[in-house]
Symmetry: C2
Subunit: 263 residues, 2 copies
């Protein structure tokens, strides 16, 4: 396997992996072995909900997004930027991977905009402003063999932290860093990729372009939770990301899954 020197792999892992020590260790070991320049983005929703329960904070979700009041913002910042982020960094450091844990506030890496309270007020939740991402700083880290590890917390440049979707952070970083690298975005999750039949692994769709995606949507083959993921992925590809691969975490080194391409 050889990766061009100017390639950057951005790997996103979700809350289910983060909450499973065995799966997480295995993923981090694979991530360490991934050749070339790389960057990790992690979620942590499962652990945040558990901690919310311990603290007696009610978890309110809408369309898969957490409604983030002040107390919840403190909670997710503690869990994502504190415990999960630093544990991952310490684990990677043990393997010899020179990781640095970051939120979007650090070095102003990911300035974000608080979501409009209309029609739904998600509270302290925001979305990255891609054109403001500090790609220069991140590429300097990466060129010095420092591996950024991002949690899903950003800020509004006005003193407020913001809870931010980890998928969106990954795709925004991929777009912004496409100015510096040939960027591939890996979304790791619990399935082999996009399947024609959710219960049949062998029905994996190995390659998909935008036209095929449109057809599969019409046919109802791709539905529900997978649609926003794919919409976002194609949006990233249209903004300069070379490739998006949706795959099972255990296949990160083999890179087998559903490969999304332009055209």
């Amino acid at each position: 396997m050889s990766i061009n020197l100017n390639t950057l792999s951005i790997v996103k892992i979700g809350g289910n992996i983060v909450d499973n020590p065995e799966a997480l260790n295995s993923l981090l070991s694979d991530f360490h072995q991934l050749k070339g320049r790389k960057l990790l983005v992690h979620g942590g929703g499962v652990m945040a909900s558990k901690m919310a329960e311990r603290l007696g904070i009610e978890t309110k979700m809408l369309d898969g997004r957490r409604i983030t009041d002040a107390e919840t913002l403190q909670l997710v910042t503690m869990v994502y930027a504190g415990w999960i982020n630093k544990s991952i960094v310490a684990s990677l450091q043990k393997t010899g991977c020179n990781a640095i844990g970051l939120s979007g506030a650090d070095a102003n890496c990911i300035p974000s905009e608080r979501r409009s309270p209309v029609p739904i007020d998600f509270g302290f939740a925001g979305d990255p402003v891609t054109r403001k991402i500090n790609g220069k700083f991140l590429s300097t880290l990466i060129e010095n063999d420092v591996v950024p590890v991002f949690c899903a917390i950003t800020h509004d440049e006005n003193g407020s932290l913001l809870n931010t979707n980890a998928d969106t952070i990954a795709s925004s970083l991929a777009v912004a860093l496409s100015e510096y690298y040939r960027t591939t975005l890996y979304y790791c999750f619990e399935k082999e990729g996009v399947l024609r039949d959710a219960d049949d692994k062998s029905s994996l769709i190995p390659l998909m372009n935008q036209e095929a995606f449109a057809k599969l949507k019409l046919q109802g083959v791709v539905a529900n939770g997978m649609i926003p993921k794919l919409d976002n992925s194609f949006k990233a590809i249209n903004q300069g990301v070379s490739e998006v691969v949706i795959l099972h975490a255990k296949n990160l080194l083999k890179k087998t899954g559903t490969r999304l391409i332009i055209g």
Copy 2:
């Protein structure tokens, strides 16, 4: 006021300031105005103890140090590296200070050694290995106008995070960075500095060398909690730190307090 280009100010603030929003904002505003290269180290013990109570975790202290079992390690990492660190970074970013929040695990900045369990087992608690501090990385950040903000969490390079005394982190960083800068260490606390009479602000001792410190110890003027702080400070000075100033947080810009010097 002019500060030589090669001067670095390391400012340490404790848990009392961190837990007081007004005092913290005022300190951060002063820190932002501090000219020249700088670095912040913060504690957070007061907030950690409050969160421990909410989570039903017993706080066990010995000689002013927290006994850190696995559950307490998670707690302090959440509070120090998560909420406090990122809140401070977001506040500094608002003022235009390009802060980056770090633990000792990030970019392997502060490798530490777990404390010997004999005679007292402090659990996941450790002390920085000063000669291993990643001064090269930190000085590169600083030369790029990025301001490191350290919480009091480090790691053992073997996958484990470690709870670490914030005063010790500050002095270890000051010693390590003395290779790159003329370093001054500012310990901010609730008193004007070292006082001859604890109840009389006007009894401030403005300047102290090691000989004077030895005398004041013999006379019983300096006692209790102040002794380890001063011992550590003189140790830092003997290892290359130019100056240590012990002062009230509100006097950071005036820099009036007790100035410790070599000789």
